[in-house]
């Protein structure tokens, strides 16, 4: 289609009609919940996270009411424990992290001029998992069964079933389930940023929000899996008595602290960076100029991401580790100040160099920076080991973390709320209410949390349910309580403002006169994302590319039509965003919801020790996943289609060009990280024990681990050979190789189990047999999944859905096998060979 064709208004109307039909949301009170479009899932996700935040906020108000006066008896100590545990856990796992994912699901496709993210059904699956897990965890407080061990759940308090009831299991399993949805979101967002940018949007033109999201999503891949590994060990101890954290049987409670904080500290930056990313979008708009120091912001994001993984032990300064170890982490904690400071200075410089419009969103942004800087400064204080010993586990730390999180996450999100509400709803929020609420929030936050520095330094420990009057803390505590209720009142005003929105008239398009792509959205809200996918030449195309909006709206760029009645978007190359292929997106479906429910069943039923039902739910989950997969990687009706401007793009790509391959790669990176957490556990035990395996205990020997390794290498080699023979057209040979690979993988399972089984290793006796069994179980379970993959590729080939030229399935299965080979090498070498040499 030439440029001139788009001059015809009739053609344009016909194209719009086709696009509208293709992207029409499902109708009906039930079917509408099968929607997978980011325009629907994003707002559901955001509202759910917002409601969970309000719930957790109410818990905080009860906490503050209890602490308002000395020796209060509003709630019992037991209820108080549940309140603060659930408040912290919900704010972290059910609000801060999911909120960033939710906001990104709304914003990212718009920012990238894409019609949707690459895996809309995965977003929907993530949302339903989050909803089910969130309701399960939060609902527990109504049954007096909420977790009560603090949000970081330190053993042995929480692993001993006589000290901690069902709540600990609800925390572990409910939140593990939600971590799965976070990893799913990370896959979605990374592939979205890397492969779904509009043509011409090279890495140096990418909106900074996308840079931040890319960095944060990668952080999730390395931060969340260690916690998943920790959860696994934790539940093995609670449910089966495997003593990973029980010092009496060779375990070590510090292992949990390591695994938790390897997750926990990067997590602070996982929730801070996306909020700062909102500043990077709104500050240029209200300074009416380009953001200064683009590469410096990228440095800040990437640098913070790396350094944040070197901070975890600063939560463990008081555990008696050697000073030399503490000093390393203290040094890294000081170093992270540099990138954090750089980005704040870049924002200030942009405002100083621009003509500032002091709008409501900018008010929130500047106010939150002020609060954040105070939290940052106390952070530098507690990063110094001797100071931390004084302040550890006091209200000083409570003050520090709330300043950081309110200034670094919550208030920036309110800034984003006021900035982006017109984008999502087409309507503006009230400036008057917004500004009033801001000042109430600002005063409330400082009144609530500043006195806590003092009460902490005066010796008030965190997590006490009451305190004696003689300590002289009542004035400070009363101030904190008044501040907390004031803050809550500010939030209430914002909620009222939001609730009034449906009765307000539609506002103008791009009301803030912003320069970035997301503001192409129209107030009336078309479901197709963008009318045509633009060619990007600058960082602020709406400002700098002549006639940009009109050209997009008249379909003068790419993919202005949906001739075949399919939902489509573009895949481009990673560095320079050169068009690579047309991506066909899935339609609404109940499968993601059903899969989330089935997987939720696995976690929830396990909590109540209903193992057979949990197993049934697991089988159902597998079946649903396979049914879901079966519809992917379809062979198109024609090899190529034109996208406009004389460019023809393929409709099918495989290997590293395809989003599916990247999704497998990213998922397996997360999987490998979780596995590293378990391996860390093994070597951690080795360092803390004089001899490991302990005296009088034999390991699984060399023979069976080596047999298992050989079989898994065979399975890998057969899959690799199948991929190559298939590519050369020898389909029958490829099928035979896949079957042989599956047989080898299947045989590896009993061979792997034979080692610990035949040497009578009892996992309840000591941490050594327990970790051996865990690594063995992990590896043979992965071998089992490998077999399912090989059989799946075989079935696809037999069904004619995969051919020598359409080989995405077998390529992805081979990629899985590469990771499996790595897992096998590490596990069997650790279990079989390491005891021989150590």
């Amino acid at each position: 289609m030439s440029l001139h064709a788009q001059d015809d208004p009739e053609l344009r109307r016909a194209q719009e009609e086709r696009l509208r039909t293709v992207w029409a949301p499902p109708k009906g009170w039930l079917r509408r919940w099968s929607d997978t479009n980011n325009n629907a899932v994003g707002p559901w996700y955001t509202s759910t996270a917002f409601v969970f935040m309000l719930f957790a906020g109410v818990l905080a108000l009860i906490i503050r009411a209890q602490l308002a006066v000395p020796e209060n008896d509003l709630v019992s100590a037991n209820t108080f424990n549940q309140l603060f545990t659930l408040h912290g856990s919900a704010m972290m796992f059910l609000f801060a992290v999911p909120m960033f994912e939710a906001v990104s699901i709304i914003l990212l496709p718009q920012l990238l001029g894409a019609r949707d993210l690459p895996f809309p059904r995965l977003s929907a699956f993530g949302y339903w998992s989050f909803l089910i897990g969130g309701v399960f965890v939060l609902g527990s407080i109504f049954f007096n069964a909420a977790p009560d061990g603090g949000w970081f759940m330190y053993p042995p308090l929480t692993t001993r079933t006589d000290l901690s009831g069902l709540g600990a299991d609800i925390w572990m399993l409910g939140l593990s389930f939600i971590e799965v949805s976070s990893v799913a979101a990370a896959v979605e967002l990374i592939v979205g940023v890397l492969k779904c940018r509009p043509p011409g949007m090279r890495l140096n033109l990418m909106p900074l929000y996308a840079w931040y999201i890319l960095v944060v999503a990668v952080m999730i891949l390395f931060a969340f899996p260690p916690l998943i590994a920790g959860d696994l060990l934790f539940e093995m101890e609670r449910l089966l008595g495997w003593p990973f954290f029980d010092a009496a049987r060779g375990g070590d409670p510090l292992l949990w602290q390591h695994l938790f904080w390897i997750f926990g500290h990067p997590e602070v930056y996982v929730i801070f960076l996306p909020s700062i990313a909102l500043f990077a979008m709104l500050i240029p708009t209200f300074a009416q100029r380009h953001l200064l120091g683009y590469p410096y912001i990228v440095l800040a994001a990437v640098g913070t991401a790396f350094l944040s993984f070197g901070l975890w032990v600063h939560h463990m300064f008081a555990t008696g580790l050697p000073k030399i170890s503490l000093a390393f982490f203290s040094a890294a904690s000081q170093a992270v100040v540099i990138p954090t400071g750089i980005q704040i200075f870049a924002f200030i410089a942009t405002l100083a160099a621009g003509r500032v419009i002091f709008s409501t969103p900018l008010l929130y942004a500047t106010g939150s920076l002020a609060i954040f800087v105070i939290g940052g400064l106390t952070g530098v204080m507690v990063a110094i080991v001797p100071f931390d010993w004084q302040a550890h586990d006091t209200y000083f730390v409570v003050a520090h973390l709330h300043y950081v999180l309110i200034g670094g996450t919550l208030m920036p999100l309110f800034a984003g709320l006021y900035y982006y509400w017109p984008l999502v709803t087409g309507k503006q929020l009230s400036d008057r209410i917004g500004r009033t609420a801001f000042w109430i929030l600002f005063v409330g936050a400082n009144l609530a949390f500043f006195p806590m520095h003092l009460s902490g330094l005066m010796g008030m420990p965190r997590r006490v349910f009451t305190y004696p009057a003689e300590l002289g803390l009542q004035g400070l505590n009363m101030a904190s309580t008044i501040g907390a209720f004031l803050f809550a009142f500010g939030v209430l005003l914002i909620v009222i403002d939001l609730l009034r929105s449906p009765w307000r008239p539609l506002g103008p398009r791009n009301p803030w006169n912003a320069g970035t792509l997301e503001w192409l959205a129209t107030p009336s809200g078309e479901q197709w994302g963008v009318r045509s996918i633009p060619l990007i030449e600058t960082r602020y195309p709406i400002w700098d590319q002549p006639d940009f909006v009109r050209k997009v709206d008249e379909g003068r760029f790419f993919l202005p039509d949906a001739e075949e009645g399919r939902r489509e978007s573009l895949i481009t190359s990673v560095l320079d965003a050169k068009p690579v292929a047309v991506l066909r997106l899935p339609t609404p479906s109940f499968v993601p919801m059903a899969t989330a429910a089935a997987l939720g069943g696995v976690f929830i039923l396990t909590t109540y020790h209903l193992y057979w039902l949990a197993l049934a739910a697991a089988v159902l989950t597998l079946a649903l996943v396979l049914a879901w997969l079966w519809q992917t990687a379809e062979i198109p009706e024609k090899p190529c289609k034109p996208i406009g401007h004389g460019i023809d793009l393929p409709l099918y790509v495989a290997g590293p060009l395809a989003p599916g391959w990247w999704a497998m790669f990213i998922t397996m990176m997360a999987d490998a990280t979780a596995f590293s957490g378990l391996v860390f556990g093994y070597y951690f035990f080795w360092t803390v024990h004089p001899s490991f395996p302990p005296p009088g205990m034999t390991g699984p020997g060399v023979f069976w681990p080596m047999i298992a390794l050989a079989l898994m290498v065979l399975g890998w080699a057969a899959t690799l050979a199948a991929r190559e023979t298939n590519r050369r057209g020898a389909v029958t040979a490829a099928r035979l190789l896949l079957a042989a690979g599956a047989l080898a993988g299947l045989a590896a399972i009993p061979a792997g189990l034979a080692g610990p089984w035949l040497s009578h290793l009892d996992p309840t006796l000591h941490s050594y047999p327990a970790i051996v069994w865990t690594l063995t179980g992990w590896t043979v379970a992965h071998a089992g999944v490998g077999v399912v993959g090989q059989l799946y590729a075989l079935a696809r080939s037999l069904a004619g859905l995969a051919t020598p030229t359409h080989d995405a399935d077998i390529r992805n299965v081979t990629l899985y096998q590469h990771f499996l080979l790595f897992t096998a090498l590490v596990t069997w070498a650790t279990l079989g060979l390491f005891p021989e040499v150590a």
């Binding site: 890495l203 380009h290 590469p295 640098g303 170890s325 040094a331 030449e537 990673v574």
Partner: protein
């Protein structure tokens, strides 16, 4: 000779992977330091006066970071389009990635030096 070296540097490919070489150098050094101290203190219970392994590892990490910083510095000066170097061209994309790599190299050098300092001052495993 330096001139020819610089020409070689400019011909090197710049990707997202090369961007993270300097901070990965920091991360590897940090992990090495932590494991070195933890294993040494837990397994032998005593410290050494001249930890040659540690300083060797630190020198290696600094070498990698400085080398990638140098390459990035040369690449960030690739002649091409006009300032402010934010256009959608090959040379501006290269300059951006190279400059960001250079900045990360600077941060990583600071990070490695910070991490190494305690070994200079602390002398035991307490």
């Amino acid at each position: 000779m330096i001139g020819r070296l610089h020409q070689r540097f400019r011909a090197l490919r710049v990707t997202l992977w090369t961007l993270i070489v300097p901070p990965t150098g920091w991360a590897a050094h940090f992990l090495f330091s932590y494991l070195w101290a933890a294993v040494r203190c837990a397994k032998t219970g005593r410290y050494v006066d001249a930890p040659a392994i540690f300083w060797g590892g630190t020198a290696a990490a600094l070498l990698v970071i400085l080398a990638s910083g140098w390459i990035a510095w040369v690449q960030a000066r690739t002649p091409g389009d006009h300032p402010p170097h934010e256009a959608g061209t090959d040379s501006d994309r290269l300059r951006f990635l190279a400059y960001a790599t250079l900045l990360l190299a600077g941060l990583s050098v600071i990070g490695v030096v910070f991490t190494a300092l305690p070994v200079l001052f602390l002398r035991d495993c307490r």
